[in-house]
Symmetry: D2
Subunit: 363 residues, 4 copies
């Protein structure tokens, strides 16, 4: 299949460009009987929405979603759910400055070589604007998962050089950074303000956690839960790395340190990040992703034009100095979509399985 569909049983297909008339998505495979309204989707859309603080782009988008199908009398019918978000703030600015050149670290050059032409307005399809539909679709998965006792939450674990150790979920959604430590916020604010003065951008690290996931999700040996999470999280704009549990720290670990021992009371640690052999263990699923610094910065850079001639690129327009700041709801959505798909996949083959062995939690 072409590249704009995610999932096997719970599938999300999206379309739409940054400055086209609208974004659209079709969510197929949602179980019937789930109470659903556009408000359920709007909540997460508003968390991702630009222009909510001085640390994100000032582009104004209401991101109002309309449910076109698949919901009847307030509940899902089991038929595909059509979603529509009209683009409202498409500045009719002149793009002639960039239409024939390639902005460094953007997809301009690769889209040009792949398709021979491209919608250069605001990055077209390659714009992070597209992630609005991921969040909308993810909200459907989140609501279904919540009814199964599964909660997917994320936070910023690092902004540029500043590490943000997890303190508590309280207040994560009450600050512009999704920081799990309120005391860190002034430092983050100061860093961002300096960054703007430097006319530069910076990367970030996001951590997503799913609690309440039952053991058994994941389809080895290729469609492992961790492999599908890596795929889904890496598919987010600007992501350059994905870790499950200890991730790259496990390179320097000893086996005696990494292995999560089991006791009748539960697992004694969670280096695995909740996945063993590609299947969920019943522990929290923990994944982290690295986002690169925003490519659009006002400091001029060298590049070439479509004729291969040398040019200087000066990026104007409205951009996030750190794309990672708005990435938390997107990362949550992607994890929720993967878990939803695998919940359905696991059910299909193993509906008859009965296990008497107690399910372990984490100590």
């Amino acid at each position: 299949m072409s590249g704009n569909t995610l999932g096997t049983l719970f599938t999300v297909t999206t379309a739409g460009e940054s400055h086209g008339p609208a974004l659209v998505a079709i969510v197929d495979g949602c179980p019937p009987g789930l109470p659903l309204s556009s408000e359920d989707l709007q909540r997460d859309l508003d968390r991702r929405k630009p222009g909510t603080s001085r640390h994100t782009t000032q582009r104004q988008e209401a991101d109002e979603v309309e449910i076109l199908s698949g919901v009847f009398e307030g509940v899902t019918t089991g038929c595909p759910i059509g979603l529509l978000i009209r683009n409202t703030d498409q500045k009719s600015k002149d793009y002639s400055a960039i239409k024939d050149l390639f902005r460094p670290a953007h997809a301009d050059y690769t889209y040009h070589h792949k398709y021979g032409l491209r919608d250069y307005r605001g990055g077209g399809r390659s714009s992070a604007r597209e992630t609005a539909m991921r969040v909308a679709a993810g909200a459907i998965a989140k609501k279904y998962l919540a009814a199964q006792g599964i909660q997917v939450r994320g936070y910023m674990s690092q902004l540029g050089p500043i590490e943000i150790p997890f303190k508590s979920w309280d207040g994560v959604n009450d600050n512009a950074f999704f920081s799990p430590d309120p005391d860190k916020i002034p430092e983050l604010e100061a860093y961002m303000d300096q960054l703007r003065r430097d006319q530069d951008s910076v990367g970030a690290k996001i951590t997503v956690v799913a609690d309440g996931v039952p053991p058994g999700l994941g389809e080895p040996i290729f469609d492992r839960l961790d492999a599908e999470l890596a795929y889904a999280l890496m598919s987010i704009n600007a992501v350059k790395g994905v870790e499950i549990g200890a991730g790259f720290a496990s390179v320097a670990q000893r086996g005696t340190e990494h292995r999560d021992e089991l006791t009748p009371e539960g697992f004694v640690s969670n280096q695995a990040g909740g996945v063993l052999g590609g299947i969920s263990s019943g522990q929290p699923i923990v994944a982290s992703l690295a986002l690169k610094p925003t490519s659009s910065i006002t400091t001029p850079g060298r590049s070439i034009d479509v004729n291969g001639e040398s040019v200087d690129v000066i990026t104007k327009g409205r951009h996030d100095p750190c794309v990672g700041i708005r990435a938390t709801p997107i990362a949550e959505a992607m994890m929720a979509l993967v878990l939803m798909d695998h919940l359905l996949r696991h059910r299909s083959q193993n509906a008859d399985v009965k296990v008497t062995t107690p399910v372990l939690g984490q100590l």
Copy 2:
């Protein structure tokens, strides 16, 4: 589809357990006319084969592959290629010691909960033995890619705490570690010898590079080349993290540092690892993966049995003290399979595209 098929157009489906009669694979979608013999596959199989040095498991497997179909008069026919590897060294040892308990950090617990029963002999399907077929299938992709001027090579970039900076491709295949720096080998040998005395295991980091990849491979916005690489590499046993290009280092980078500027002579750097917007840029594709320490170690550990009762686990048998040592050919195979699949996918939709803009290499 169920989880044992990889790819969309160039598909690899595998089956087989560690101690079953055989491993089998079907490679579908290989273009016709490719000269192919079992020797082409054997070369990489021998690189992955156990028992070739004192630093890997002493299990003896010839890993002789038989081509069952899809090749006629020495060339591929375009029909599916069946591959068979008989398991020869299945020690008829007594598994009663582990059949009813879960080895920490293994898939025993999760397979038990997912399927309700499991083939406990040597880990059954969850054993790294399965990766032999990945290597065999990957060798087919490698041979086709090579004819297109695409070369996929890997090396060990870190063993436990020891970083191994890349020096040269020469000799990478001449040492047990796939070290790109021959001078490092004594240090690696000494570390491994001490590790065995400690009855412990350790993790490793592998880096894979593809040279000669044309721009255009990758199908946004989900089936990005980097997303599919993350999926394929994370699906390898024991992998806990995947990076593209700068990876997690990009978190602390500034935009001015990360963005790879373009000049008529080429890209000035490759922080992106050869992928922009999910599409290959023409630069080398660079991916790294983190492998956790081997779970099977002779130091006893705490666990539970199928009744939830506390037990002590003493792992016996023949195991790799560092699974990463044999992982390089596997990682190469997975990258080759993803590139092969995307070469075919890119062709299908964009066969008519003509681009006059020169393709940039890397400075």
Copy 3:
């Protein structure tokens, strides 16, 4: 994947119910550079549109399609094409009469058992209204295929007991029945008028032909071209049978009669319908489909309600006395979508194939 996506590389995903706010579709995998406007889609939509003659339902739907994405400056970009059709004529009639009972030969009973609830307004998702999006998507495929010299056309080959032998393509689109023989039209008109007086409905047979299809399309041994055509055509509402070439007539044929002999000038016959071994031969692709009589008729019928109690069903509302009358554009669309998908699939694997053997036409 869930059931609302068609195709492997050129995919069409649709959503929308008969009386919901809108129908929506996402067409993914369309090659870039194809000139496309909503007018290109409207032409076929108008051919399918209800209310254009007294022999079809009087429901009034403009079926105006909006292109939401994937087209920039008049040509396709290679990114997914979003399509939207608002439902305008949703009679706010009272459905309480049918909400709790099952209309015979409709999907009411099966949707109820599958999903536990259903959108009963006008059949919801099971309504033929959904086929509007098939026609819109098919028009994109038709336009691309036409540029390759491939033309997909259909006609009505039988209405109830009246067989309509093919005379000529001229005028097929100038009559309400898509009759290939203008002289038959009065007989068809008279039959339909009597049918309405009888308060009954009738079946029909449609034949679709693709000219100019090159040899090589189709992916044995499962995804044969004829198998995929059977799937796509059988997926149209009310279709109960599909034939390729001689179809069921081949049961009574002798081998000497059925086999299409080859001469340097071309094939001497086309019993095969243009497909040999599941691959196109270069001859015209010929497929026929049987459509059952409309289930909604005003003659009362026996049924049960959701409690299993006996009820009498009297269907009201606006219905086609013969669904086959409007089916020709739908059948053309489905064949075009399958050919388009297989054109891309064939390319991907066999781009390097060179054949010197001349391509045969048909004598």
Copy 4:
């Protein structure tokens, strides 16, 4: 995906040519805990096996299947099941006579144009020999379905001009034709004997019935149960047509005649063939398929060679005068595979659905 995999959740991937070393298949997605041995597969393989009567090819193949994986201690583990059948009777005859020409009505011409080369020995991949693996895989589905109370059975409903009305299931497997009427057998024998004297071949019609299928199987609007059956049955060699229920007879039917009315005691008829709106109704699933006459006949025919020159084709070797005679077990297997896949698909999305409305049988 490439064309040699069938199914979405219960997938069957096959490889192997008529005269290659072996046929191989991987069945993925089989639920764990199903008792399975090679004997379960051998039963149906023997029903399809050639050389069991004078009315089929005299090629001798033991068709002995080996289970390579996915079964442990007599039951399935949920891991993929590898199947192997060695080809034993590959006559080392000289194929030079046909290697450079195209046998009429065979896949020679189309494989040549698609792939540029082909394994010409006995038709290579396009040979019906491949169907042995369909039967083996289908036997696994049949055994699982049987445990759910679902029984899939087929019979020959027409041989050339001779219609065979269904009398009873008794004895269907006791005659070479799978005739449901023992009294017809002498007539069938006489017809076949004359056919051989005429050096000709003939077509046949097979009907397959599934009893005990619960309502709800099928995934509209594309992956309808009837659409997937049409795909699977049309993918069998030599099949030119597929019908569900009344099939092409419904063209001339009136709505009052076709609609299957419902009563509290059950459906009063089954014109629909057990599928409404693409979903099983709980009635028997009834499908018929048309098989063309064998293409290989000893009566010479006109054709061309790879240079486009005119040639005469005289087919030698061992062939079935009516491929339909051995097709019944194959058709059963394909229906079983589709039902199995849809049973898993239905479960996944609708596991929570509770319906109190009684399930109707057929009167």
